[in-house]
Symmetry: C2
């Protein structure tokens, strides 16, 4: 599987190594790493755990620059000694190692892809600015699969497993400096370096948003962590404080992490937390207001002059407050008027635009109107639409136009909250220049 | 649109009425309701507001048994007098009225369908046990569209708008007695009859679950309600207490309401709140545990004998605790063993089964294993799966097999919480026999 990924995607040279084969997937197979002609940049190791020390020795002699050890069977099942042996070899030869016990890495630029999940089961995302580091291969695989299926661009994906000599702190540092990465996602079960983690995360947060999931926050979740990666989970309060100090955006779950990443990747930061809501269904306006207020966002009255301007251009029965209710027979023109006004109104920092595509008078043309407003990049715009296949198609079109679109008003409000939270952190943080 | 819905779906006689036309959609058109030959069971009125009193007078003379007034332009825009005039006519002739200012009704048995959203924009659901009453047409339309697209069965849908002489209390009473309705969903912005509402909701909750959304819970949400349906929103605390007293399951948002409805429609009630978790990805086990514990569910240790039984049948590196981590190379056999054990184990009341379809060794055959376990109806089973198109296909197959399946672990835990909450209410409530 892994070799196949390299053969299909990677542009450089690939050398299979196996003592029993002469050829794999049409490539000449070498009996040992040391037999490979020329230099080797990366070794991907997927042999039974007990053979890993020997292979790493060979990599050391060959002066391999880095290694990904996919194999499991180390500290996570109690084989602490074997892992320590591998660590000593790696450190002796100064080989940075991702793993063991991991999915490894995916890089959308070089097409290095050590993920052993079949491509028909797990889609690979296009090139883009979201990078992801994860202690759990399974969680990582799902997020990659989502990104692939939903059309979001990924730069680097690193499943680092037992963190032999490269851990979350090293990886945060690396992605913080990586020019291709604009947003960092992170799934953690624990860390061995608490202080360095906070210091590094804070430094990186000043440059780009980090969205984090800390798993094992409850006492019983922490017990489950112990039998998964064997990490010390730490208390929920300590982790929440650590995230807050370092500006890491705390995600409740994977979907939320993915939602936040989409919004940070596509939309500008707001100046504050005053949300303008546009809807063609009154009930959705009420629920959206509730969702924003519950998140400590504000839904302020619109500027009076701007209200008068809008009223001249829409029917009398439309409700021009905040939320603006364009009502059930709203057409694209009314959305154009409302969006223009919200972009102009200085009392509004970000826009939540609800479009119910079930109604008779709304059609696909509203997508270009919203996309144009979003392209101005003056204020963040997120959309909410929900329903069956007709709505799903239009949601996808909005997403493709760079406008993050949610079925759930709560998800939309959460995403705007994440933007406002990060803007707040950047304003308040004394970031090193 | 509405006539077209009747022509295409309804089996009985349909009479178009309009003073200017002789024929509509191939049907003979009558100039007045009084000119229709024979009896009329239902009048669907979609004329400008000012003509509604006249049409209702004609309906009264014709002894029409019921009316749906779609037309807006009444109390919601300040026309209180006009609405009162219509109410007096309706009451004089004893005509129960749904509306005005609503989408009206959909009945999957008789195919009465007054919803004016085009079918290509809003799907109609198949026949089933979920019924829905809503004060907001837009919210209702989205839920119907979801049910249609996702294959869930609906019995009755009632968008009742301004509640002329039929309100949420009447409708709850009706659906409580309706044999085709197993689960009631309800979107409310307010009520004029607080005490009767609680009394009725409690009585109905003893028979079948009611899932409620109360919109306008925040102060600003309540203001938005005032300019939407003009209802008095009431305080959040009062509503939460009312829901709790009457056993109504409080949904945070529309997706949650829909999720709960799916689980109640498809799965039995649990005996308690002790959840067994099965996974093929350790990280998901940790997150699932966190999600359950945060919801005050329990994730107890498995029975020791059963643990020993499982261990005999699965590889040593699988983690046989709760959660059961079948690990990344789990195949269908391991799921079979784990599900059997969880169904047997008396310390477990409900099962959360996570299947990550990205892994190489899991395939579609796991669906029939889970469906069979679910068909026994001994304990509720919900699944969690997430990812791109391969996973989405398998999620759909699980749903079609009657197993509610969520992408989000939080949604799955919430759904199990709703089941446990309702079971608790039924146990504790002194229900009238």
């Amino acid at each position: 599987m892994i070799l196949d990924d390299f053969v299909k995607g990677f542009g450089g040279k690939v050398y299979p190594v196996n003592p029993h084969e002469k050829e794999i997937l049409g490539l000449k197979c070498y009996s040992s790493v040391t037999k490979i002609p020329g230099k080797v940049d990366l070794a991907t190791i997927a042999v039974p755990a007990k053979y890993v020390p020997q292979v790493m020795q060979e990599c050391g002699k060959k002066k391999v620059k880095g290694a990904v050890i996919i194999s499991g069977g180390f500290s996570e099942v109690g084989n602490v000694k074997l892992e320590e042996e591998v660590r000593q070899i790696a450190n002796k030869y100064k080989i940075p190692v991702i793993g063991p016990n991991c999915l490894g890495v995916f890089d959308s630029t070089s097409k290095v892809d050590t993920l052993f999940n079949p491509r028909y089961k797990m889609e690979r995302p296009r090139r883009g600015g979201i990078s992801f580091i994860t202690q759990s291969g399974a969680v990582g695989a799902v997020v990659m699969d989502w990104a692939g299926a939903k059309g979001f661009g990924v730069s680097k994906f690193i499943s680092y497993g037992n963190a032999l000599n490269i851990d979350e702190v090293d990886l945060l540092n690396y992605l913080g400096k990586d020019k291709e990465t604009n947003v960092i996602c992170m799934y953690l079960e624990g860390t061995r370096r608490g202080k360095e983690f906070i210091k590094t995360a804070k430094k990186v947060s000043c440059r780009k948003p980090i969205i984090g999931i800390k798993a094992g926050k409850t006492e019983q979740g922490a017990k489950a962590v112990a039998s998964h990666t064997g990490s010390l989970a730490g208390s929920a309060m300590v982790w929440e404080a650590a995230f807050q100090q370092s500006g890491v955006i705390d995600a409740r779950g994977m979907e939320q992490m993915f939602n936040y990443a989409r919004v940070f990747a596509e939309q500008p930061l707001p100046r504050g937390k005053r949300i303008g809501i546009i809807t063609n269904g009154g009930g959705f306006g009420v629920l959206a207001t509730d969702a924003c207020i519950k998140n400590n966002l504000e839904v302020p009255p619109l500027n009076k002059k701007i209200v008068e301007e809008i009223k001249k251009k829409v029917p009398k029965y439309a409700v021009i407050k905040n939320p603006i209710d364009l009502v059930g027979d709203a057409d694209v023109h009314r959305y154009e008027v409302a969006l223009d006004a919200m972009l102009k109104d200085k009392t509004i920092d970000a826009i939540l635009c609800i479009i119910l595509f079930q109604t008779a008078d709304i059609d696909s043309s509203v997508i270009s109107v919203i996309a144009e407003a979003s392209d101005k990049r003056k204020k963040p715009i997120v959309c909410c639409a929900a329903g069956g296949s007709y709505s799903a198609l239009h949601m996808r079109l909005l997403e493709e136009a760079g406008v993050p679109t949610f079925e759930s008003l709560i998800d939309a409000a959460d995403a705007l909250t994440a933007l406002a939270y990060y803007e707040d952190f950047k304003e308040g943080a004394t970031c090193p220049i």
